[in-house]
């Protein structure tokens, strides 16, 4: 039918009609959907033979908390994890992409992945997009050369540090690290200071401890914000509401 032909561009190239439609809608005053940001406090620190990564679990869309218990510590390789702050889609996509590239590289070389490989892949991708991929990452892992901790900024610059914080709660968390780092492991304190002092961070604390040959992914290690009152009646919906169950897939 002729209508079907109008929907698809004839040569199979990109069609930008929807972009024009979006611009027209914005001019008419329609609010575009806001990005889901991970407001976030993410931290990492190096200790004796390994590294610890920590993150809060609040995901926001503007002023609303859209996920109270999201995972911000992403898997990159069996010995490398990466915390992500910034636009949730960007951090997920970039960490997934580099995680796949690392796996292919492992097949090619037959060796355990190195943190600096992940660092170079992430940094060159982010630099190529000149900061438009809004992903601020704390990358950490233990490989044959030892424990490594790096921060990667959206424009592609990296820093190598003993302790690092990123995200909107980074200033609050950094105060804890700066005053207490020498005295031992204080990752949960740093995350909690971000959670309680930063509006963009909240809910629970996830921690990941990586040492040579071993890792502990402690999902919801601390739950300092339990739901204090749960009504025994449950929620009451109007009669014609369709009931809908969310299926959550987890490895």
């Amino acid at each position: 039918m002729s209508k079907a032909e109008v929907d698809f561009p004839p040569k199979g190239e990109f069609g930008f009609d929807l972009c024009k439609r979006n611009e027209m809608l914005i001019k008419k005053g329609v609010q575009p959907p806001s990005y889901r940001k991970t407001g976030t406090t993410i931290v990492g620190l190096i200790f004796q033979d390994g590294i610890i990564l920590g993150a809060d679990t609040r995901e926001t869309a503007g002023p609303i908390v859209c996920d109270k218990n999201c995972e911000k510590i992403h898997y990159m390789a069996p010995n490398i994890y990466c915390c992500g702050a910034g636009t949730a889609a960007d951090t997920e996509a970039v960490t997934d992409m580099v995680s796949s590239q690392l796996q292919l590289h492992r097949y090619h070389t037959g060796r355990e992945s190195r943190v600096i490989t992940a660092l170079t892949l992430l940094k060159s991708h982010l630099f190529n997009y000149q900061g438009y991929v809004q992903a601020a990452l704390v990358l950490g892992g233990v490989d044959v050369t030892g424990p490594h901790l790096h921060t990667i900024y959206p424009h592609g610059s990296t820093d190598t540090l003993l302790f690092a914080t990123m995200g909107s709660g980074s200033l609050a968390a950094m105060t804890i690290f700066e005053s207490k780092y020498r005295e031992g492991l204080t990752v949960t304190e740093a995350i909690c200071s971000g959670i309680f002092n930063d509006l963009g961070s909240g809910s629970n604390v996830d921690v990941c401890v990586i040492t040579k040959g071993h890792k502990d992914y402690l999902r919801n290690h601390l739950l300092p914000n339990p739901r204090s009152y749960i009504s025994p009646k449950g929620f009451l919906f109007p009669k014609k509401t369709v009931s809908w169950t969310l299926n959550y897939l987890q490895n």
Binding site: G86, K123, S124, L126, F127, Q130, G131, Q134, A136, T151, Y153, P154, H155, G156, S157, T158, D159, L161, G167, S168, S170, L171, S179
Partner: protein
């Protein structure tokens, strides 16, 4: 507080030749807007065994440029069969900086030692000019050092004189420039090899109106705290 601003290294970077080699110096502050993202960064990056570069301006741009040049120089060394000269390294940096001048915002100082020319310093400011100089200064803190160098620089200094000059100059710039701070790192390159030195902030001399480090409230945990009042 814009923590999404691109990282810039406000910076003070210096490169100085002496009789026998070069001394490169830099501060260690990387800032995002007004927040110091890294107070102990290393702005003196290795390109080859005998050539180093001081980076200033955008952190991302300068890191990428130095990564590319390190890669090109590695290939060049293999093809040439001997260590690359400082001039070649500086020109590779200059080609990247000039040909991408619309995209990059980074000022660099390339310094090193080779057996043909000895110690050499090349300044490559924004825009991609290359200029061989007996000494070069760069970064936001360098504005405060032009007069100082006009007066203090002399030909034919010894290694220790040159290093002291660099440390003094960086610490003067740190005192006056908000975008420079932290520690002073120096790298000395000569025929014998490369020496890295580190001068922590509290060991630097104090200048006009600078205060001694004060008793810090963070030391309190060791004491039991004030006595509670008795009713």
């Amino acid at each position: 507080m814009d923590t999404d601003a691109p990282h810039s290294m406000g910076t003070t970077i210096i490169g100085v030749t002496y009789n026998g080699g070069v001394v490169l110096g830099a501060d260690s502050r990387t800032s995002t807007g007004v927040y110091v993202a890294n107070r102990a960064s290393d702005k003196i990056t290795q390109l080859t065994d005998n050539v180093y570069v001081c980076r200033s301006g955008s952190a991302a741009d300068s890191q990428i440029v130095s990564d590319y040049v390190r890669y090109f120089l590695h290939q060049h060394t293999i093809q040439l069969g001997q260590p690359a000269t400082v001039k070649v390294a500086a020109n590779l940096v200059r080609l990247l900086a000039y040909n991408n001048k619309n995209l990059l915002q980074t000022g660099l100082i390339v310094g090193g030692w080779d057996k043909y020319e000895g110690g050499k310093i090349y300044g490559i400011p924004l825009g991609g000019t290359i200029i061989e100089q007996p000494f070069a200064i760069g970064g936001s803190g360098s504005s405060y050092l032009y007069g100082f160098f006009d007066q203090a620089w002399k030909e034919g200094m010894t290694k220790d004189e040159a290093e002291q000059l660099v440390v003094k100059a960086v610490s003067l710039a740190i005192a006056r420039d908000g975008a420079s701070g932290g520690v002073v790192r120096t790298v000395i390159i000569n025929s014998e090899g490369v020496t890295r030195n580190f001068y922590p902030g509290d060991k630097l001399p104090l200048w006009h109106e600078e205060l001694e480090p004060q008793f810090s409230l963070l030391d309190i945990p060791s004491s039991p705290g004030p006595e509670p009042m008795n009713i």
